[in-house]
């Protein structure tokens, strides 16, 4: 992860590139090692998220009607917009890697900036969604003040079986937790628990990614990257794509249950 002059072989060579780490033989070895390293790290990330995906699958396969019901409280429109925003950020980051490889410093800066803005936009929309849910009280099971509200059209007939007291207030049906069939309500709480854990953990990854991008921007401005030295950009992009990849699955799994 370094700028370089020229490279002709191993350690005792006075022509050794000054940013080739002391224990590597060549820039190629250094790049390959970094690449394998980041991929192995991504693998651990996949397994890190796996437990939540397993939780999701396990609860959904056993309580499909709960998931169907609870998913309606998620805003598909916002989810879809966020998907596109994140895809766009992935695209600009991939472009940034190309810029780095070609040594286009100003374009690299610009693409990284767009990526950062998209990431910020994603978190902004996420914030709106979260605050909406906190406001409405569609939260996990441990929260007692939960009152589920829904547009009349969104309340499926079978839902009526699970609760006795739908009230029409402010143009919406709402049902206080205590009026939902308790077994059903518990599992609705579990759905939101899984929802908040999955999106929350993903959000944390986005924020880590944003810090990473800021760091890359600073290094770009310093002129660290060039055609033979773009490892950090490349590896940062791989991480970012993985974050995107996880969202690609989260979106249909959470928002699009019919």
């Amino acid at each position: 992860m370094s700028t370089t002059t020229n490279d002709h072989g191993h350690g005792h060579d006075p022509n050794r590139p000054k940013h080739l780490a002391h224990h590597f033989e060549s820039l190629g070895q250094q790049f390959d090692s970094g690449k394998l390293g980041i991929w192995v790290f991504l693998l651990t990330e996949v397994l890190f998220f796996s437990a939540l995906f397993v939780a999701y699958t396990m609860y959904r396969s056993n309580y499909p009607e709960v998931f169907q019901y609870a998913s309606q409280f998620l805003d598909t429109k916002m989810g879809a917009i966020n998907t596109v925003v994140l895809l766009l950020s992935s695209f600009t980051f991939a472009w940034a890697v190309r810029n780095a490889m070609l040594g286009e410093k100003s374009k690299l800066m610009l693409n990284l900036l767009i990526t950062l803005v998209c990431a910020g936009g994603f978190m902004g929309i996420k914030y709106v969604e979260y605050s909406h849910k906190f406001h409405e009280g569609t939260l996990w099971g441990g929260n007692e003040s939960t009152i589920f509200k829904a547009d009349p059209a969104d309340v499926p007939a079978e839902m009526k079986e699970h609760s006795s007291a739908w009230n029409n207030t402010d143009g919406k049906y709402s049902v206080a937790v205590k009026d939902l069939d308790p077994a059903f309500r518990q599992k609705v709480g579990v759905f939101f628990g899984v929802y908040f854990c999955l999106t929350g953990l993903h959000g944390i990854h986005v924020m880590i990614g944003m810090i990473l991008i800021v760091w890359l921007l600073l290094r770009t401005r310093r002129g660290d990257f060039g055609p033979t030295n773009f490892n950090a950009i490349d590896f940062g992009a791989l991480y970012w794509h993985l974050v995107d990849l996880i969202w690609i699955f989260l979106f249909p799994l959470l928002y699009l249950i019919t």
């Binding site: 191993h10 350690g11 005792h12 780490a21 002391h22 224990h23 590597f24 070895q29 390959d32 090692s33 394998l36 390293g37 192995v40 790290f41 693998l43 651990t44 990330e45 397994l47 890190f48 998220f49 796996s50 437990a51 939540l52 397993v54 939780a55 396990m58 996990w140 099971g141 441990g142 929260n143 077994a183 518990q186 599992k187 709480g189 579990v190 628990g193 899984v194 908040f196 854990c197 953990l201």
Partner: protein
């Protein structure tokens, strides 16, 4: 000054730079290895203290069952939890891979350092933070969940000390992941020319297999513990039944990591065994390929056997049967290794050095530990033995009798390389012998105690239950074991000043770490790159007497040190 392959009087990695910062902020894998080593030993003493506390509480006559107070029970529950958590997360898991692995792996590969030295340093610093969190736990509350942190007890029925402990385990997990990642990349990308996969020393195979488990399994426990944490602090109900969660699900997540973690503990020990048996029999290891492949097989199979921890948890019948069958599959490669080691002794020239004594002890202890494992994979017997002292004895035979003894054997084996001095002598041999005897005295009686129904994690037993004699024997054994371990530690520390100076190759090993001087120079090798040959062709070196140790039969002309010796 006579030419020598001992470099204590020259510049070496120990004396190249001085001061706290030069150690704490080092990226030298050897210094990191040593820091891990001493930190692990420190934690071992802490865990050992709690082990003695457990034994003391259970000693018949010390606490009367009828008058035992809740405070005493809580103290006991805290002791077994801290003992387990410290020994597993802070001692055995980092022992061989992080301490010995860090020191030895790059030298064995003939390279200057691991692939990502800074990440390596980060691993160590994370480990320290994790260790500090665990130590903080001791002062914050009475951690009493057992090292397994099962909900709903951990989430709803005990104090906040769970939070620091879980955070500690989480951070330690990342330390372990980064170490594994580093080793995988180093082995893949930095093997010297000529060292094909099947010319790699078996210790590296073992570390590689371990690293696979570390990177695949540890993230899962990381997220499980994180979920436990949000559940405890924010009542997100994924595991708590009162909130609609499923406590058995936590056990699945937990054991998906924690069973493979058992092999994170034992595989490196097996790697050390292979090195010890080859070197001290002065013979190529028997069945090199099957040992190497067995390591990988164990690593992969270890992922699909976790359900045998859950035979009585309410896991479904079908899954229990599947897990039982899969569990046996992991026993076969373990058995193969034992047979191969024994076959290595055949027609060898066996040197009864301290490390080899540990090696021979492990053959027996791992034999017992492995064979008693079959009682647990067999469904019929497992149900009865589950959560009794039979299990406790079984896993101590594997964790202590094999993994920990492997660690100590490895320390004695590589000690001359680490410090340039021999720790060999009557003291270290008696230490090994006493540890072996004491260990058996402690844990052998616990097998029948367990099969007769002695449940684990009990702060006391009524006299009528009839477990007093077993407990008495175990306590006496524990004292002998403690004395043996102290002798081993003392012999190591004493050797730092009084030990004889070690040559580059005191034992006759032909893996690359024996080619560099003892202790190695800062960048591991004076010559570059080192010669790569069959790692177990013992005829490459010959015995040149106590002072010079073993030297290559055909030394390279550009090796200044050896050339000098041969002239002299």
């Amino acid at each position: 000054m006579a030419p020598s392959t001992n470099s204590l009087d020259r510049t070496n990695y120990l004396n190249a730079t001085k001061g706290f910062r030069s150690w704490f902020m080092t990226i030298d894998h050897k210094r990191l290895g040593l820091m891990y080593l001493w930190s692990v030993i420190g934690c071992f003493i802490l865990g050992g203290f709690f082990a003695m506390k457990i034994r003391w509480t259970l000693t018949p006559g010390v606490t009367d069952f009828m008058t035992q107070t809740v405070e005493q029970m809580n103290a006991y529950n805290n002791a077994f939890t801290v003992h387990g958590a410290v020994m597993i997360f802070l001692v055995i898991i980092p022992s061989i891979p992080a301490a010995l692995g860090n020191f030895v792996l790059p030298i064995m590969l003939g390279v200057k350092d691991v692939a990502f030295p800074k990440l390596n340093r980060l691993s160590y610093h994370l480990w320290l933070i994790g260790a500090l969190l665990f130590v903080a736990t001791l002062f914050i509350g009475n951690l009493d969940t057992g090292w397994t942190f099962y909900p709903p007890y951990s989430t709803g029925h005990t104090d906040v000390s769970v939070i620091t402990a879980v955070l500690g385990a989480f951070v330690l997990g990342f330390s372990s992941i980064f170490t594994g990642l580093n080793f995988i990349v180093t082995i893949h990308k930095m093997r010297p020319p000529g060292m094909t996969w099947f010319k790699m020393p078996l210790f590296l195979w073992a570390i590689y297999a371990t690293a696979i488990i570390q990177i695949l399994a540890t993230p899962v426990v990381g997220i499980s513990l994180l979920l436990l944490l949000v559940e405890k602090t924010m009542q997100i109900g994924i595991f708590t039944p009162a909130l609609g969660g499923d406590p058995v699900f936590f056990q699945h997540l937990f054991w998906f990591y924690s069973h493979p973690a058992v092999y994170v503990m034992i595989l490196p020990g097996m790697g050390v065994m292979s090195e010890l048996f080859a070197t001290f029999s002065r013979k190529p290891i028997f069945g090199y390929k099957s040992i190497a492949m067995a390591s990988i097989a164990i690593a992969i199979l270890s992922f699909i056997v976790w359900g045998h921890h859950m035979f009585v948890s309410g896991q479904s019948e079908t899954m229990s049967v599947i897990f039982s069958a899969l569990t046996f599959s992991v026993a076969v490669p373990s058995a193969i290794k034992v047979f191969n080691w024994i076959a290595t002794l055949y027609k060898g020239s066996i040197a009864f050095t301290t490390p080899m004594l540990y090696g021979l002890s492990i053959i027996w202890l791992f034999g017992i530990g492995g064979l008693t494992g079959m009682f647990h994979s067999t469904l019929g017997t497992s149900v009865h033995l589950h959560d009794t002292y039979f299990v406790v004895a079984h896993f101590h035979f594997v964790m202590v009798g094999s993994a920990l003894f492997g660690f100590i054997g490895g320390i004695f084996y590589w000690w001359p390389k680490m410090y340039g001095r021999m720790a060999e002598g009557a003291l270290s041999k008696w230490g090994c012998l006493l540890s072996f005897v004491g260990f058996n005295m402690t844990f052998l009686p616990l097998f029948p105690a367990g099969s007769r129904g002695m449940p684990r994690r009990y702060a006391g037993y009524t006299e009528a239950a009839g477990f007093d004699s077993y407990n008495m024997a175990a306590t006496v054994g524990a004292v002998v074991l403690a004395v043996g371990l102290c002798m081993a530690l003392y012999s190591l520390i004493r050797s730092l000043k009084h030990g004889e100076k070690a040559p580059a190759n005191p034992w006759g090993g032909v893996t690359l770490e024996w080619q560099c001087t003892s202790p190695p120079p800062e960048h591991n090798f004076d010559i570059d790159p080192p010669t790569v040959d069959d790692p177990y062709d013992m005829t490459l070196v010959e015995w040149r007497g106590q002072e010079e140790g073993f030297l290559p039969k055909n030394p390279r002309s550009d090796d200044p040190c050896i050339a000098d010796i041969q002239k002299a």
